[in-house]
Amino acid sequence: MRRAMMEELLIRLLMAIATVVVLGFLLVILVDIARRGVSALSLSMLIELPRNAGREGGLLNAIVGSLYISSLATLFSASIGVPAGLYIAEFEGKSRIARAASFAAEVLSGIPSIVFGVYGFIIFVIMLNMGVSLLAGALTLACLELPIIIKVTEETVKLVPSHIKEAALSLGATRWEVLSKVTIRQAVPGIATAVLLAFARGAGEAAPLMFTSGYSNFTPSSLLSPAANLPLAVYYLIMMPFPEAHMRAYAAAFILTIMVLSMNWCSRMLFKRWSRYVVK
């Protein structure tokens, strides 16, 4: 019995240490980013374009570029991923395509982001001749976001209670009508979450965009021009030996982190709020 008590105490001690260490890491990083970022932030940082190799001016190119690339990528991936998720959820038992697609999405979600970058560079930039452009970057990022949307949509739709679907069917609805009029309505909070999560994930990625949408000191003027983005801005600016450039890197990191974290928070809040109207 003594031994069991000792074990218990030991475990509790270890757990306490572990949790404190984990939370400690989190707080240290967040505080560091916030401290450096807030001191570097200013209005000119947000609305000016960079000059003089990142030593002057602001981050407008990266902010606008990030918004464009992520929005476009999420648009592409959601328009394909949501229907795919719906199909997989409804037909997993029946269709081989559904099972294969589910497996493929699983595999895709584990692929390292640089591999997407290589893929996008070879296929979109070189073979499809888009050049280093906003469009190529958005398409590459869409490939990366696709599995997230498919998996979350699939999970959400699977949670829709079958009794509502059966009720609709018993009233004579076709498969499609049940899907579009009943299931989707119930799944909207989950799908919205999927889209927002994918957007936040996409906004934080740098490796896939390094060679596909490149970098530019200007805001993109068309779909085929190169575009900067916040993660790459952080990377390039922090590698410069000038303290002014480092300041801009902290500011960019801060803006990026705030953007991503608030998207994540939004998606969770939205889910909770809209779930109230969903039949359980």
Binding site: T19, Y87, G93, S95, A101, G110, P112, V152, K158, P231
Partner: protein, 327 residues
């Protein structure tokens, strides 16, 4: 996201509902075609990625570079494509990251699932999910600004001077801060939220009755957890470990900024390393000019793909088996 329930769609299988010749029937058929086509997208993307990587790997082998793949000589202009330094670098860094994050994550997960007071659960869980959302470049930046000087100025002299004299693992061969240790620590912080949230979710899903039964038989909290919850949750926990491994294995930006990018096979925690992902990131644009360089870089990509793919599949298989055994 909650654990998804099985939802067998048998009620869609034997449909004699809509008349296929009516408008509603046609829409029904068309729409399911459209949805199927959309799902094919994921299959299409995966297959093209796999095909691209495989094709270049085959070309790499054709040119006779395969035997040299495990050599440590990387001299592209002389046709030497030894990937050993990069493979070793990736493995070392991933190993350090897993060594740090496994115990920490596991213990925290148990705490969150079993021991935590009700009120603290939600805020702490949100905090940990916050960690998961931070982009990897930001981690890399933090690593560069804080961790690298820390390793160089404090940890290396301290550990290298003491443990380093006894164990070659801790020896400081060159003290620049950019090291496997720094990269491993950054990666472990990135991977912790995944470990914690998957393990915790799975543990929470174990019904209370099992725990209550153990406690009623006189077990302490920990004994109940150990014998009941962990055993039932082990498939999920294992899957979480695999997921974390894949994430650490494939991370690019954070290690690019912190690992040092030196082409040698590392022999100590304080040595710099050059992971496969950093190799591709640094040299991708040039590969267009030199075809065999392209084959080598894409072979590195192929290795990354194959490893993450296999671990994913293994995880799924083991989870299925463990689940069946558990029942």
């Amino acid at each position: 996201m909650a654990v998804s329930l099985k939802n067998r769609s048998t009620f869609f299988t034997d449909r004699e509902g809509a008349n296929p010749r009516s408008l509603r029937g046609k829409i029904d058929k068309l729409s399911s075609c459209f949805l199927a086509i959309a799902s094919i997208s994921s299959i299409f993307v995966v297959s093209t990625i796999a095909a691209l990587l495989l094709y270049n790997f085959m070309k790499f082998c054709e040119q006779g570079f395969l035997p040299s793949i495990l050599s440590d000589v990387w001299l592209p202009s002389k046709g030497e494509y030894g990937l050993l330094p990069f493979i070793a670098g990736t493995l070392w860094i991933t190993a350090v990251a897993m060594t740090i994050s496994l115990p920490l994550g596991f213990l925290t997960a148990i705490f969150m699932a079993e021991y935590i007071p009700r009120k603290m659960h939600s805020p702490i869980k949100s905090l940990i999910e916050l960690l998961a959302g931070i982009p990897s470049v930001v981690y890399g930046m933090w690593g560069l600004m804080v961790l690298v000087p820390l390793v160089r100025d404090q940890l290396a002299p301290l550990i290298g001077g003491s443990l380093g004299k006894v164990f070659p693992l801790f020896r400081v061969n060159v003290n620049i801060g950019f090291s496997i240790l720094a990269a491993g620590i950054v990666l472990s912080i990135m991977v912790l939220p995944i470990m914690i949230s998957t393990s915790e979710e799975v543990m929470r899903a174990v019904p209370m009755e099992y725990r209550e039964a153990a406690l009623a038989l006189g077990a302490t909290r920990w004994q109940a957890t150990k014998t009941v919850v962990l055993r039932l949750a082990s498939p999920g926990i294992f899957a979480g470990i695999i997921l974390s491994f894949c994430r650490a294995f494939g991370e690019t930006m954070a290690v690019l900024m912190v690992a040092g990018n030196v082409i040698t096979v590392p022999s100590s925690l304080f040595d710099p390393a050059y992971p496969l992902t950093a190799l591709i990131a640094n040299h991708l644009p040039e590969m267009i000019s030199i075809p065999s360089y392209a084959y080598a870089l894409l072979t590195a990509g192929f290795i990354l793909f194959v490893v993450t793919f296999s671990f994913n599949v293994i995880a799924r298989l083991v989870v299925r088996r463990l689940k069946r055994m558990g029942q």
